[in-house]
Amino acid sequence: MLFPTTSSPRTPVRVVVTGAGIITGLGTGWKPNAEGFRAGKAAFRPVSQFDVSRQRVKTAAEVDLPAILPPTRLGARSIARLDRAGAMLVLAALEAWQQAGLECAENLPLVLGSTAGGMLLGEAYYRQAVRQPQRHRQQATRAIYYQPQVQARMVLDALGFSGPITIISNACASGGNAIGHAWDLIRCGQAERVVAGGYDALGEMVFSGFDSLQALSPTVCRPFDARRDGLALGEGAAVVTLETLESAQRRGAIILAELIGYGTSIDQHHLTQPHPQGSTTLMVMKQACASAGVTPEEIDYINAHGTGTVLNDRSEALAISEWAGSRAATLPVSSTKASIGHLLGGAGAVEAVVCLMTLREQWLPPEIEFETPDPACKFPIVNKPQDARVNVALSNSFGFGGVNATLILRRWA
């Protein structure tokens, strides 16, 4: 029963990451992504999925999906019903699942963040409903499969497990919140293992939305640069498997890192703009540090939300600078949105996996195009590929609507 609950563990359990899957514009899987992030490679190219001829901006970091999905338990009919978002989600989940060495399981929760789910199917539904109102072919299927909980069920069916599905849609913080919620579920004793992540595909409506807001950069996405002029969009997915340390050790699983802290809060300043002084960002970073039992001095790298917009980056820079205090002067910060764009509901999960990469492989992901820091940045922006000692990494995610999430991960040595 979800309520009444059994009592929580007296001592909060330690939660570790035992599997990670990632797909972005840099490629499918850990290796091509790690190589790309390490080099600061940018994945932007002209948008091919829909017509952008009348948009201000015409590029994004699109994913190259494989022509055929690797084998899973999904039948041909189910695979045919996956849209781009669903296919990316299944690919990321499969990689995480295989890396974790998990097998068929009952009552294994799946927590996903997404802003749009299968919106591409929703867009197709709308176009047909308007342009061919008497044609009903495929409409019922689209109406079902655009829903994110149905895409989540495809993950269960693909990998052969069952359990509760939770879909969090806190805009661009969704992926971070999903992993944080999974951490909560394990810590409060509701689950021993959880599969969690975030995903979103590039869609015409969302692209047009950010373009209409003039939030897209017509030049190059340069988070925290004084010359920044907007964000770039991307698409992708990341999934991680979380479990108690005891469970991982019992299974003999390879531990990728420990998830040690999570904070979330809501910024009520504006629907689309953060508080100008970053007060909620500051609060959520403090909250995450408190839950992790670490201080800014112990953080070795921050993967910032860093969208590249004037307002977001200034607000986040002020918050990081105040939160870090004297540590700021030597605290490396970068935003990997400079490489793969903003993945919206997928961003927080993908950036958590980037943090896993920095912890596992001991390097920092650079923003190659970064040149001149915004005056609000009291910290160095990583702009050249470099090896580094990274024991603790922090990832920020903020969303339209004001929900923020901060995750803190520690190297497992």
Binding site: F3, G117, A129, A143, Q149, T166, S208
Partner: protein, 349 residues
């Protein structure tokens, strides 16, 4: 073991803009009149039950954050304000830290359709004022701004059964002392594309919209006389478990109930859609209400109305306990039981 109480209820439905209107309509038991919704490109309109305009323009609409919002936010805000009204006037709840969980299935369809339509016609003129209102998180954000003392918020998407996942999340926040009270809101709005989609999935369903809200708290002194007695696990549908099996598992977890308790089910007008829920409760001999038969298919709002109606029946002393059955369309089956505080006080000191 913690106890969770219901501090207040709120509802906006085709019956009207408060819980009283919902109660009166459900007590009458007569399905509300059906209106016609024009469907572009079709000669025959689609059936719908629309939320009537409020008799007076709600005062909250003058809040600057709500100026450009669509009906889903209006419904969510009205239900939220009604549910927290008791807390806001209770000196014991001063400085109460509030959490908000907003549950949605379709979400902000009106502005989504409008913005996508503008995009298809000419993206250069698509309105930047409309786009931010299309995100699932918009209603939660606006309600948080309206209520001010909100410290945590989350928007959950799922089929209607996910409303009880929202309740469970609120319980978790309360148990971890992250909030002092938590609003759990289920909200939907409708338009022709929603009616069209529903027509493709269930020809007997009549689309509707609105919102329902429960305000949960840890303190018995803030309660309206109702407490949460149980929430079942999520009985997820999968390739290996049918909807029928999941509904039966949910019923099994709720266990035997007194025939003097109320069952507030999610049965509508479709033999096929409702088959799993009918089967799960076929042995139920006690009183039951089926709000969807009277109000229509309000998706997440309808799930919230079921919970509101169940709590209201207990709060008004008509029943010592009430069960809620949510057999969702494509995700899971979940159930809950609410009870009068005195009813449980002996069993769970």
């Amino acid at each position: 073991m913690s106890r969770i109480f219901v501090a207040g209820l709120g509802a906006v439905s085709p019956a009207g803009w408060n819980v009283g209107a919902l109660r009166d309509t459900l007590e009458k038991g007569e399905p509300l009149p059906v209106q016609e919704m024009a469907r572009p490109g079709w000669e025959k309109p689609l059936p719908a039950r629309l939320v009537p305009n409020p008799s007076l323009r709600p005062e909250f609409l003058s809040h600057p954050r709500l100026r450009r919002t669509s009906p889903i936010t209006h419904y969510a805000a009205a239900a939220a304000l009604e549910a927290v009204a008791g807390l806001r006037t209770n000196p014991e709840a001063k400085n109460c830290r509030l959490g908000i969980v907003v549950c949605l299935q379709s979400g902000c369809v009106q502005y989504s359709c409008r913005f996508y339509d503008e995009t298809l016609k000419n993206p250069a003129t698509a309105s930047p004022l409309v786009f931010p209102e299309t995100v699932y998180a918009a209603p939660a954000s606006h309600v948080a701004a309206l209520l001010e003392n909100v410290v945590l918020a989350c928007s959950l998407v799922g089929d209607p059964s996910a409303y009880l996942q929202g309740v469970s999340l609120g319980v978790q926040w309360l148990e971890e002392n992250r909030v002092d009270a938590c609003l759990v809101i289920g909200a939907e709005e409708t338009n022709w594309i929603m009616a069209d989609a529903l027509w493709h999935l269930d020809r007997h369903a009549i689309v509707t919209a609105g919102a329902g809200a429960l305000c949960l708290c840890r303190e018995a002194k803030l309660s309206s006389g109702v407490e949460l007695a149980a929430i079942t696990d999520s009985q997820t549908y999968s390739a290996r478990r049918t909807r029928m099996q999941a509904a039966a598992a949910m019923r099994g977890q709720l266990g035997e109930s007194s025939p003097k308790e109320l069952l507030c089910d999610g049965i509508g007008n479709s033999r096929r859609t409702d088959a799993a829920e009918f089967a799960a409760w076929r042995d139920w001999t006690g009183p039951r209400i089926s709000p969807k038969r009277i109000l229509g298919e309000g998706l997440m709002a309808a799930a919230a109305w079921q919970c509101v109606a169940a709590c209201d029946a207990v709060a008004n002393g008509r029943f010592a306990g009430a069960n809620v059955s949510l057999v969702g369309s494509n995700q899971q089956a979940m159930g809950a039981r609410f009870a009068a505080i005195s009813h449980l006080s002996g069993a769970r000191p």
